[in-house]
Symmetry: C2
Subunit: 156 residues, 2 copies
Amino acid sequence: MKYINFEDSTDVASDTFFMRQALQEAQEALKLDEVPIGAVIVSNGKIIGKGHNLAERLKDVTAHAEMQAFTAAANYIGGKYLTDCTLYVTIEPCVMCAGAAYWTHISRIVYGAKDEKRGYSNFHDKLLHPKTTVTAGVLEEECGELVKSFFRNKRK
Amino acid sequence: MKYINFEDSTDVASDTFFMRQALQEAQEALKLDEVPIGAVIVSNGKIIGKGHNLAERLKDVTAHAEMQAFTAAANYIGGKYLTDCTLYVTIEPCVMCAGAAYWTHISRIVYGAKDEKRGYSNFHDKLLHPKTTVTAGVLEEECGELVKSFFRNKRK
């Protein structure tokens, strides 16, 4: 692994690096036959929370990758606010996850592929906290293809 | 307690009855110095899940009353869909909880008082599932006053 300067959290190389960690989480979901979506939360260049979709395994719609990552990161920090943190998630957060992100006051969200159906940006531009900045399209094709091929295989 | 025919789930008396159960949950939150919001989920006249806000206690923004009630009800049912269920919640669900409700395909939501800030209806009329019907204003004053007096006391 090449040395990456994680100090600058908006650095393209570090965004790609952390999205790869989120993709690893998505692979964990895939192993369990879950819709392969993964997430990590990063603070000061360090992963402090991660999660992968477990909605089927847990029979619980609230078990999205992001929700678990939020809970894990808040647990790590010992507080519910994730200011100065970045969420990396392979697919655009849905309304529920965007609504949770709002409550965390998270500084930044980086996502891979857009969700044309339930992606938060299809609904209202104020679902997220006004302080949250968003970067879309990091490893977009890889993130999107993982989910698309999952559903293609399901239809076979 | 007067006999109530729970068969008709849209019956005003049963709505009031179950909202009182949600208010009891809100009282549990209040005892813990949490924003007093409570929820129950009812299927065939029976409470199959309940929850009260624990966001501070758990230091977790995802620990809203509704989210816990969804998880509890899904656990009871053994499946993630809450079709043929009604959510009773003292305050209008926020964006996160509405987004979660969408995924559950819940049949009906009954809430007490409106949330003028983060209530889902302030954002987009399609945050909920198209099959979900909504009744607002059941024990509205009591539900709203519980939260208002909580914040009044906090400001003292």
